[in-house]
Symmetry: C2
Subunit: 290 residues, 2 copies
Amino acid sequence: MNTRLDCIPCFIRQAADAVRLSAPSEEDQNRLMRSVLQCLENIDLRLAPPAAAQMIHRRLRSLLPTGDPYRASKDRHNQLAAKLIPSIRRRIEASYDPLTMAVRYAITGNIIDLGAKSNVGFGDIYAELQSAPIQPIFGDLEAFKKSVARAKQILYLADNAGEIFFDRLLIEQLGSAKITLAVRGKPVINDATREDALASGMDEIALVIDNGSDAPGTILEDCSAEFRAHFDKADMIIAKGQGNYESLANEDRPIFFLFRTKCSVISRRSGYSIGTYVAFRGGASPRADC
Amino acid sequence: MNTRLDCIPCFIRQAADAVRLSAPSEEDQNRLMRSVLQCLENIDLRLAPPAAAQMIHRRLRSLLPTGDPYRASKDRHNQLAAKLIPSIRRRIEASYDPLTMAVRYAITGNIIDLGAKSNVGFGDIYAELQSAPIQPIFGDLEAFKKSVARAKQILYLADNAGEIFFDRLLIEQLGSAKITLAVRGKPVINDATREDALASGMDEIALVIDNGSDAPGTILEDCSAEFRAHFDKADMIIAKGQGNYESLANEDRPIFFLFRTKCSVISRRSGYSIGTYVAFRGGASPRADC
């Protein structure tokens, strides 16, 4: 999908966050923001939002003293998620339909998105967890479950650090299929990289790969040959988060998008209200299943 | 006060709103946004936010087919406010302390701010009106009331269209002081101009002037000599909205700022949480009065 006018303020907010995290002096912050604005001037709005964001964050990382301004945030979210996971796992295993419940919690984890919001505090996560067990999931949950039952090779595209611990709980419920988990190739915003996958212990239950790209989404032409091979051979792809949806919405593959809608652009494009839990197959029209 | 990094995404959102309201083709919208980004590149963050916004909206108006992209929104908000005002007036007049209640409703009206938010729907206004009568007012309400009782000449700086009808209800409660109401000199965002003051019937109860400026605030050096004379001679100034606060926060005059805090920048600067109703004197430290 194309970048929309409303994406631009969001890019600038992300840049302001990254600048604030890494450049203490006001003078440096202003210089860096000028550079981002200059970079945005040449933006091609026909690109998918993650491609535009990739351009901006590349520019920022080339100027910032650190190549990973969000590392401390990612560690904090991983540590919190690690503490929450055992009790959530018990709730999933005790539920009437563990797979559906695991989908729900995987989507709950998707609120840990510093691309859509400057801060996700522990209070936000606890509040979301309270309502998680009763959230309706819109889209094609039955088709998702049928696809899981049939799949032999599932490629799971992770989204953010912290959230990846919730993804692990869903992967534990995916049955006998062989799972490959893909993270971003390099740090961008708070998207999960190999370090976060290992922190969540994902390598114990899945083959962990990275996609070779530093976009906050999955821009296939920017991904490694190894990733593309996995993408082409999987008989089911589970893509978490808005960034993966923005970059893969038009792909003709058996992709299920799982996320919580967080902005008006995605709400309009997908047809689901802001705040909705969705699990739908690429190209499917919106409807409530569960 | 200076422009902060967090103001920049807000400027861009305002620009995207104005562009969308006036330029139907995607090509034109992209061209206009590029021009705004180019303009922002040279932004001086030592300016007050309304001065930076003035620069951007001037650029936009020079490129847009209309010099007043928000005119239709302003008319809609005026029409809604006109319908609401008779019943709110009755509630104010029937209350134990009409002046305090009128301050409350004047601050309620301050949610009609398209600088802080892209859309303010009728539902938002009705919802706010439900809670208005019990909103605590933080700041120096007692000092405000004492100042009103003593004042001979009050200069009232309006903020937005629609909101100006609520200001009228407060002005009706200001006792025997001579009131001058000032609006912006030219259209900018949905700020009230002379047209909106006349729509609210403000000329029946106050001397209506404009400040000669097209900034969404009160930048004194940009205002007309006539306005400056009123500003200098008033023994009380009531300044509505964040824009007037941003531009007059450091002025050594008997100014009372009345607004609803709507963003993190103003919340940090003023010391009041987002969503708070405030009425405080310039330079005063935050405390709850009522």
